[in-house]
């Protein structure tokens, strides 16, 4: 276990915490940033994919001869060229770059044409003759449970169940039985997609040394690198992946994509560069977005509003492939106990394959759905117990340096402060219930990981590594595999190194996301980059600072630990008159020690839980957020307007407040879009039109997202309690602030018009339906009415820390009785 690099004397900062232009801001503002589709190479060809029109079918034959003979066509590829399957997770290697025997969703790629230009490639696609034999389809998890045959995949738990799991931390039924109240609610969260502004694009080429280079809009060049080597059956050392700056990712560019293997293979076969850029419609099919999740939440509560136990059941619609599914399934539950003290917790989750584009990780990965359910249920509990929803939450927030029933270690927490802050900013106490007809306020909270505690593939190596080179001309070049997806990771890297060395960030050149040059970082996912890359960067910078200090101390007539680095200079602590420039210090050190370079690396601490499955959920730190949403509901149309949102986010420390605030507002925006309108929904065509399961809205016009006119003003408070596990105390901000928005909106609608919409998105038709029910004297609620019988397995039973557990599973009935 690596201890995080500790800054020696830094209590006052030159760079950290000060608003400044991000290091890549200029290039972006002048249109000079080169995204993947902006890249052009001599003799470059273009690829297009032929996609299945059927949601489920056997591919009986593919005749490419007519396409192959077409003018301008250089190559036609089919699944025959790709015998090796892939998948981001070792346990779900279930995809082929081009379908071999079977297609599983409308849009599944079956062939590819590589031609002189996109137009010719597109025309030639129409000359490929594919004979399909249609199979029955699965449209939903309920259907998948009811119809185990035909199986969409020949692996998984059984039938069409991909993953099925159950965990119980303390005897939940016993605790529910002795609770003053038990609340049982059903919730549904519809799927939605990332919709990055940049469509996925990739350019493959063979470099002068004969090795493959793939420049691609990927969030995870390291995982892609491994998968390319595996699928193309070439040594990983002969493959180089450069993650181009992503035009937005949000999780959608985490999985390796079919198109990336196709252009890589084609470039190797043709010896020419091959580029592809997905159309917007294709991006909807690539998907890997938010899983639709049906939830059942049973929660025991005492009369004073404290939680006694929770039994959470989730059912995930996985779509056609595994993707990150095994992790997604865990994430629909594992972070639930992190916000509030919960003595006992049972969590059952099941992911079912369906004939739709694969779901995967989207900002918040698996956690927005159960958080929505839990936070809306808490609002109902507060209402029934006549408690203020904010006060009730404040009384039960998890404590710093505590364990959850599931053995997650909560380190620093500013959740209470977040709640107090949004209560204050929104005028919660004064305004709630007094806004007049149709207007309301709602509150909700959440938490998120600062990086997943374990890698996607099992290994004991660092999760992030940074190398820094210094030279006598004053250049500070920082190498790291981390990927700039718009979140500002290059700026974080430059800012941390600059602070540590006491120089302006403008001195630092970042070289990132290049598996051929940069030390490995696992990628831009799970809000891990600031923490893991940052700790690695501070370790590397600290080592260089020690070297510089040793050289400078002599000249400054002081001791190395009395040397201070600040404002592009090096000082003796006791005498600011003894000083030299940073460049002079480098020259002295280079003369004394030789060429100056250092590496740093980071691996997260070992989690306390020891049961099988305890690896999902632990993190070096957790961020916390609280949010208040104001709504106006038009009772005639069901239209929901949001005039304002207040959010407080416990960020540990804001490294660059401009970026931190931007991440918070951007998260709120995406959450509000999910809450009000975004849905990746499907329908079955009538039998005369093939019965196919088709995407309802695969375009930016029909897939509704908030425009500049729809977006309310967001007031942001950054709560800064530096976390000792994090670089200068900085926790994540990329995902957490999205999470409380959806339940806060639902709670605000209830406050406004007294109806419960237990389903996301909350569209006007649902609000109207609930208002009509209210009018008729029925339960004023719209949401799922039943939860199917899911064959969850017997739970892995673990005693919570406070019941004498040691973090291991208690096997069998004996263990349980002993409990």
């Amino acid at each position: 276990m690596n201890a995080p690099a500790k800054p020696r004397e830094k209590t006052r900062f030159d760079t950290i915490g000060k608003p400044r232009r991000r290091v890549d801001g200029r290039a972006k503002a002048i249109g000079q940033t080169r995204f993947a589709d902006d890249l052009v190479l001599p003799r470059m060809l273009h690829a297009k994919l032929l996609r299945s029109p059927h949601p489920h079918a056997i591919v009986e034959s593919i005749d490419v001869s007519r396409a192959q003979a077409q003018r301008g066509v250089h190559l036609v590829l089919t699944g025959a060229e790709f015998p090796v399957p892939y998948g981001i997770m070792p346990v779900s290697q279930d995809e082929h770059p081009l379908a071999r025997e079977r297609v599983r969703y409308v849009g599944d790629p079956v062939a590819a044409v590589i031609a002189v230009d996109e137009q010719m490639a597109t025309e030639a696609l129409q000359l490929i003759d594919v004979k399909y034999r249609k199979l029955p389809t699965v449209a939903s998890p309920e259907e998948g449970l009811a119809k185990p045959e035909p199986r969409i995949h020949d692996y998984g738990e059984r039938g069409n169940i991909h993953r099925n799991q159950s965990y119980e931390f303390g005897d939940v039924e016993e605790a529910l039985a002795r609770s003053d109240h038990v609340f049982e609610d059903l919730f549904f969260y519809e799927g939605n997609t990332h919709l990055p502004m940049e469509q996925q694009a990739s350019l493959a080429s063979v470099e002068g040394d004969g090795k493959l280079l793939l420049q691609s809009s990927t969030q995870n060049p390291h995982y892609l690198h491994r998968q390319l080597a595996r699928v193309l059956q070439v040594p990983a050392a002969h493959v180089r992946v450069i993650a181009t700056p992503n035009g937005g990712g949000f999780g959608g560019k985490c999985d390796p994509g079919n198109h990336e293997f196709v252009v890589a293979k084609a470039a190797l076969m043709l010896g020419r560069p091959v580029k592809i850029c997905l159309t917007r419609e294709e991006v909807f099919y690539q998907h890997r977005g938010r899983h639709p999740v049906l939830m059942k939440v049973r929660t025991g509560v005492s009369n004073d509003g404290r939680l006694t136990a929770m039994h959470l059941q989730t059912l995930l619609d996985g779509g056609a492939y595994g993707s990150h599914g095994p992790a997604s399934t865990f994430y629909t539950g594992v972070l639930t106990p992190v916000t509030y003290e919960l003595p006992r917790f049972k969590f059952e989750a099941c992911r079912v394959f369906t004939n739709k584009p694969a779901c995967g990780p989207k900002r918040g990965h698996g956690t927005p759905q159960p958080r929505f359910g839990q936070e809306v249920q808490l609002d109902k509990i507060a209402e029934r117990l006549k408690l203020d929803p904010a006060e009730m939450r404040l009384r039960m927030v998890t404590q710093p340096d505590s364990l959850t029933a599931s053995w997650l270690h909560v380190g620093s927490t500013g959740l209470a402060e977040c709640i107090r802050k949004v209560v204050e900013m929104s005028g919660w106490k004064e305004r709630r219930g007094k806004l007049g007809a149709g207007r309301g306020l709602g509150l909700a909270c959440s938490t998120y990981m600062c990086g997943a505690g374990v890698s996607i593939y099992w290994n004991k190596m660092p999760h992030s590594a940074v190398q820094i080179l210094l030279d006598r001309s004053g250049q500070v070049t920082v190498y790291c595999g981390a990927t700039e997806i718009g979140q500002g990771s290059d700026d974080v890297l430059a800012g941390l190194v600059a602070e540590s060395l006491g120089i302006d960030p403008g001195w630092v050149r970042c070289v990132t996301g290049d598996t051929g040059i940069t030390p490995i970082d696992l990628g831009s996912y799970s809000s891990r980059v600031t923490i893991m890359m940052g700790n690695a960067a501070l370790q590397a910078a600290g080592r260089l600072r020690d070297t510089l200090a040793a050289a400078a101390a002599e000249a400054l007539d002081t001791l190395p630990d009395r040397v201070i680095f600040s404002q592009d200079r090096v000082f003796a602590a006791q005498d600011a008159g003894k000083t030299m420039s940073f460049i002079e210090a480098i020259a002295l050190a280079e003369a004394k020690f030789g060429t100056l370079a250092a590496v740093g690396s980071y691996a997260p601490p070992k989690p306390p839980g020891r049961y099988k499955g305890a690896g999902v959920g632990p993190s070096p730190a957790y961020s916390f957020s609280a949010c208040v949403v104001e709504t106006e509901v038009d009772e005639h149309t069901g239209w929901v307007t949001v005039p304002k949102i207040w959010i407080a986010h416990d960020i540990g420390r804001a490294l660059n407040p401009v970026l931190a605030r931007g991440q918070v507002i951007g998260g709120v925006y995406m959450g509000l879009g999910e809450a009000l309108m975004e849905e990746q929904a499907f329908r079955r065509l009538p039998p005369k039109l093939s019965s196919a399961l088709v995407h309802r809205n695969p375009s930016m016009l029909d897939y509704k997202s908030l425009t500049s006119l729809d977006m309310p003003e967001v007031e942001v408070a950054l709560i800064e309690y530096p976390d000792p596990n994090c670089p200068y105390g900085a926790k994540e901000v990329g995902q957490g602030p999205l999470l409380p928005v959806m339940p806060a909106l639902a709670n605000a609608i209830h406050d406004a018009v007294g109806v419960r919409i237990d389903e996301i998105p909350i569209t006007p038709d649902k609000v109207l339906r609930a208002l009509e029910k209210k009018e008729k004297g029925e339960a004023p609620r719209v949401g799922p009415e039943s939860f199917p019988s899911v064959p969850y397995p017997a739970p892995t039973f673990v005693l919570p820390p406070w019941e004498g557990g040691d973090g291991n599973e208690l096997k069998g009935q004996e263990g349980r009785k002993a409990a």
Partner: protein, 164 residues
């Protein structure tokens, strides 16, 4: 088949310079800018006129270059993001987007900046509401728009104070 030429030759006035260019007649202004003139600062997000990423100014008006045939732009004044800075000095809108978080991933930025420029050219002191309205056709998935509004307001102030 009617006689459609394989390529047309045109003179396009881009960022104040006449460019001789030959291209297939079906190509959009977006495609000609990016593929034939190597002006890749103009982006595409849908190529269906839905997202605003490809907005450029034609005769001072914002226009979705993915919906306009390049042949229709002959003799018109085309401005792209590349033409906005004076040498190495950023246009106040560009500086403001870089300084105030108006640009995160940067992919919508060119279209946003050009659309905002058209607004500020006509209305030097637009209200927040006017800015929101003017940018309503430009989607951004990163920022939640607020820091974009703030960037435009800051640039408008700088321009009014004669910082350009």
């Amino acid at each position: 088949m009617s006689a459609v030429p394989d390529r047309v030759h045109a003179t396009l006035r881009v960022n104040g310079e006449d460019q001789q260019v030959s291209f297939a007649p079906y190509k959009t202004l977006l495609e000609v800018l990016r593929e034939d003139l190597n002006l890749t600062g103009t982006k595409h997000g849908c190529e269906l006129g839905e997202c605003g990423a490809c907005a450029v100014l034609v005769d001072g008006e914002p226009l979705l270059s993915c919906l306009e045939l390049a042949v229709q732009c002959e003799g018109r004044d085309i401005q792209t993001i590349e033409g906005l800075a004076k040498g190495t000095e950023l246009h106040p809108l560009q500086a403001a987007f870089a300084d105030h978080g108006g640009s995160q991933c940067g992919y919508c930025t060119s279209g946003m900046v050009m659309t905002a420029k058209a607004l500020l050219d006509k209305e030097p002191a637009p209200s927040r509401e006017r800015i929101r309205e003017a940018l309503a056709g430009n989607l951004c998935r990163c920022t939640g728009y607020q820091q974009i509004w703030e960037s435009v307001e800051s640039a408008a102030k700088a321009l009014r104070e004669g910082k350009r």
